[in-house]
């Protein structure tokens, strides 16, 4: 990100995160081209499906090894993420959705740390797509549980005068839209910033034009990669638990 006006090398880490079609594919006038994000989403999904089905096919009564690890994760998801937020009854219905969200986001983000790969969740299109799914799920469950009129009535408290409605309703609509959008931007910005910091550290080797100084940026990159693993796990957890909160709010409308 050095400006070219000072005559130095033009460092631009952001071009790594742009999407370029690997295979053009246009259907019905919509651009379905295969880009790097699509390829790495496929890889993350294939990895998850393979590991989880292999473990599920050979379940032992006394778990050991990989089954133990997966059971630990699933139990953490079931207890902390779903049952504590939603209660047991709705938790059984929504556990697959929320667990899939968490595992998919975690795998995509961690795959980006492999050198030479692309982080799908560092792209705003992918995270907005996930947030759209969450938005449709939240509104859908609210409408199905309370009916369309009942759900809209639940936006405002009881017993308020009618003239207050034009003030309260737009605020409520905007907040219903803003919550999934904030999920998308939070995940996207965290993943993007983590990887950009790693790239900026590496670009310092080029900026200083010597390999002798390279040990400090490399040490910085090691530390930042470790921190990035931590941040990726936290962000996947936050996305899943906020989704569970929004779904639980739509089911048990407080007003």
């Amino acid at each position: 990100m050095a400006s070219p006006s000072n005559g130095g090398p033009h460092i631009d880490p952001m071009h790594h995160f742009e999407l370029h079609p690997i295979m053009e594919l246009h259907l019905f006038g919509i651009d379905f081209s295969i880009t790097q994000a699509v390829v790495w989403i496929w890889i993350a999904a294939a990895l998850l499906i393979t590991v989880l089905t292999l473990v599920a096919k050979t379940l032992k009564h006394y778990p050991s090894g990989m089954q133990n690890f997966i059971e630990m994760i699933v139990e953490f998801l079931r207890n902390q993420l779903v049952n504590d937020v939603m209660g047991e009854k709705e938790g059984r219905t929504w556990f697959p959705f929320i667990a899939t969200l968490f595992l998919f986001i975690l795998t995509s983000s961690l795959l980006g740390l492999v050198p030479g790969s692309f982080t799908p969740t560092a792209n705003i299109n992918v995270t907005v797509a996930l947030a759209l799914v969450v938005f449709l799920a939240v509104q859908g469950v609210g409408v199905r549980k309370h009916g369309l009129v009942g759900y809209l009535k639940g936006f405002v408290p009881h017993g308020i005068p009618l003239w207050v409605l034009p003030l309260l309703l737009p605020i409520e609509f905007i907040s219903q839209l803003a919550k999934p959008l904030s999920l998308a931007i939070r995940l996207f910005a965290n993943m993007l910033v983590g990887h950009v910091v790693i790239l900026v550290f590496l670009s310092m080797i080029i900026l200083f034009k010597s390999f002798a100084v390279a040990v400090f940026p490399i040490a910085g990159v090691v530390v930042m990669s470790a921190f990035e693993i931590f941040v990726a796990s936290i962000q996947a957890f936050i996305f899943a638990i906020l989704t569970a909160n929004y779904i639980s709010d739509a089911i048990h409308q407080a007003h």
């Binding site: 931007i185 910005a189 957890f237 936050i238 638990i241």
Partner: protein
């Protein structure tokens, strides 16, 4: 030129606000954990969720700053 200045200033202000909020949050959580160590797991989970909310606000400013720096 003004773009770069405003982007840096905005990001600095946002980081300042986020740092104070997160520091306050974590301090209160540590106090609560010291009073009742059995509740440490629940306290830690709630603290992480609140930290994510505060950090998201600083990240909105980061997105605006990046837009200012990278586009004409």
């Amino acid at each position: 030129m003004l773009q770069y200045l405003s982007a840096a200033f905005a990001m600095g202000l946002a980081a300042f606000g986020a740092a104070i909020s997160i520091g306050y949050l974590v301090g209160k959580t540590m106090e609560a954990m010291a009073r009742q160590p059995e509740a440490a797991g629940q306290l830690r989970t709630t603290m992480l969720i609140a930290i994510a909310f505060v950090e998201a606000l600083a990240l909105y400013t980061l997105v605006v700053s990046l837009l200012l720096v990278l586009t004409k």
